[in-house]
């Protein structure tokens, strides 16, 4: 149904489109990681395509391949009622260079999805406004949906954390900390000191 989109992508990006297929009726294009944002902007902004809804973003790990991590984006258009799957591949064996341009400026709904892909698969998004773990806690080591992450691995226990111990602002504020419910004036004081 969105053969038009595939044709337009190919015409606009040329060699940036690595392959396309339409297995099971799902039109799919694989684009070069460098063209990721350009391809998405085209899909969003072209009035004949008008993919206005970000449906899903996920990472699929293929440890034997190079690049290793496949990032899969599903899009839908509520006006034209068609869908497309856009894929790209990033990262070498050790997930070095697994970076993509963030698309939050194109679809705000990708904010949490990009955080999830970062958390679960370890792909970093350049220019994301708030890239931190979303399902896991900040001290979690590794990225669980990489195939190299053993399912039985246990994580070390996390001590009760305060910002003073960590020496940096914590991503998730500690519950019931000493400054619970206090205005910012109190927060500025070092922990453990009363004014």
């Amino acid at each position: 149904m969105s053969q038009v989109a595939l044709d337009k992508l190919k015409a606009r990006l040329g060699a940036g489109v690595l392959e396309t297929h339409s297995e099971f009726g799902d039109d799919t294009a694989v684009v070069d990681a460098r063209e990721w944002k350009a391809a998405c902007k085209l899909l969003r902004e072209d009035p004949a395509l008008d993919f206005d809804m970000p449906v899903d973003l996920c990472g699929v790990d293929y440890p034997g391949r190079e690049p290793r991590m496949e990032v899969v984006l599903h899009l839908y258009s509520t006006t034209r009622h068609h869908r497309i799957r856009l894929k790209t591949r990033v990262g070498d064996e050790d997930m070095d260079g697994a970076e993509l341009d963030s698309l939050v400026s194109v679809w705000p709904g990708l904010n949490w999805l990009e955080r999830e892909v970062y958390d679960m698969s370890g792909v970093r998004f350049r220019g994301h406004p708030d890239l931190r773990r979303i399902l896991m806690y900040p001290e979690f080591e590794g990225h669980p949906l990489q195939k190299t992450y053993p399912a039985q691995r246990t994580q070390p226990l996390v001590e009760y954390r305060t910002e003073a111990d960590a020496g940096r602002p914590l991503e998730k504020l500690p519950p019931f900390g000493p400054d619970e419910g206090m205005p910012f004036g109190r927060r500025a004081l070092p922990h453990g000191e009363e004014s």
């Binding site: 679809w107 999805l113 949906l145 419910g181």
Partner: protein
């Protein structure tokens, strides 16, 4: 007693102008168990909110990569534990799309009837819970009574109230019971009556309406950009319903309407859900009329469907077939597929990657709640602290699927 006559400098009694940090959740009665919100308040107004999820993360996608394709069914039950049947059917349809299977007509009608029952139970929970969180306990208890009727039917059919694990690749675990149609026909009018009674309590109640009207408004374009689907999107005026726009099963053969809201506030989301329950009942009535009383439920394909138990105990072929399906799993052809159905809260998608073996290579679920809760911060900006409760309630966040 003489009145206090204190000379006050102007502004001396004003509250400090610095914003205040407030933690709401994760164990807060209105946070549905597992969400934490760090709020930055100026007085009672929310300046900024940070919604933190993940407290119910159970590694669903990782677990799926360790069993057979059929062993995923119990996991999807536990994603949306208010309407597990819709998840079962959604996953079954996704695998069938990958295998190129089409289940017999009787099974398609059966799946629709069970799915719509599950949708009713989903919406009953959500609408009842909004009322309860705003202090009206009675409608919730009535709606739970109605939900119990739905679950009685599902229990009779599947053996379990909540976690049915009833879907199978290429059919259902068992055919409909002989009394299925009668049970549904008896329950639907009663449920409708209870819904109407509850509505009368709420929709003429000034206090309840004031808490919902014009609260947490979101425009259609914003909701689409955030990836919202389901009742929350339709409340903003975008009539996107997968059952209507991209029919699956037999939804193109039944007659139903898609309730749409006008301004996208909390009341609209509430009303859209009430409307959808009526449509679901309308669908169930049509399904019951058209579903055959006998005929096969499972596809006749020994590669995917277990043989009858009688044969397993008496013939060697069926024993081997049973053994291979259980131990190795059904071999699903190589490829990738995205299949989407209309869940209780919106588009429920499964992106499956198969490497041709009996174990999934990757099962990715697209839970509707994740995106919807992702937009929560946006609709709360500038609202009062007390608006969080109805606004969050109207999104019907289900921790299990939101946190995977």
């Amino acid at each position: 007693m003489e009145p206090l006559d204190i000379e006050l400098e102007e502004g001396e009694l004003e509250l400090p102008a610095e914003p205040m940090h407030l933690n709401m959740g994760p164990s807060h009665p209105a946070m549905h168990g597992t969400v934490r919100m760090v709020l930055e308040l100026s007085g009672e107004t929310i300046v900024k909110s940070d919604v933190q999820i993940g407290y119910l993360h159970r590694g669903f996608e990782k677990m799926c990569e360790r069993g057979t394709w059929t062993q995923v069914f119990p996991y999807v039950d536990r994603l949306n534990y208010v309407s597990p049947m819709l998840n079962n059917v959604g996953y079954a349809l996704a695998v069938e799309k990958l295998c190129g299977l089409v289940v017999p007509e009787r099974c398609q009608w059966y799946r629709m009837a069970l799915g719509e029952l599950a949708r009713i139970s989903d919406h009953l929970t959500c609408t009842g819970a909004i009322a309860m969180e705003l202090g009206a306990f009675t409608p919730l208890l009535w709606y739970l009574k109605a939900r119990e009727m739905v679950w009685d039917i599902l229990e009779e059919e599947t053996g379990a109230r909540l976690t049915h694990s009833f879907g199978r690749i290429g059919g259902m675990e068992r055919p409909p019971t002989p009394g299925f149609k009668d049970m549904c026909r008896a329950a639907v009018p009663k449920i409708l009556q209870i819904i109407e009674e509850g509505e009368k309590l709420l929709l003429k109640n000034r206090i309840f309406l004031d808490r919902l009207e014009n609260v947490a408004v979101i425009s259609g374009a914003d909701a689409v950009g955030l990836g919202w689907t389901g009742p929350c999107l339709r409340a903003s005026g975008v009539a996107y319903d997968i059952r209507k726009n991209h029919p699956y099963l037999k939804y193109d053969e039944v007659d139903f309407e898609v309730p749409v809201g006008t301004c996208g506030d909390t009341l609209d989301r509430f009303l859209v859900r009430l409307g959808e329950m009526r449509q679901s009942m309308h669908i169930i009535e049509q399904v019951l009329d058209r579903m055959a009383d006998d005929g096969p439920v499972n596809v006749d394909d020994p590669r995917f469907v277990l043989p009858p138990k009688g044969d397993v105990y008496t013939t060697i072929e069926a024993t081997i077939q049973h053994f291979k399906l259980v131990m190795e799993g059904a071999k699903v052809p190589k490829g990738e597929v995205y299949s989407y159905t209309e869940g209780g809260n919106g588009e429920l998608g499964y992106y499956l990657v198969s490497d041709g073996t009996g174990t999934p290579y990757r099962v990715r679920i697209r839970p509707p709640c994740f995106q919807i809760v992702g937009g929560l911060s946006k609709i709360l900006e500038g609202r009062l602290l007390s608006d969080i409760v109805p606004a969050f309630g109207s999104l019907n966040m289900i921790g299990g699927e939101c946190d995977h």
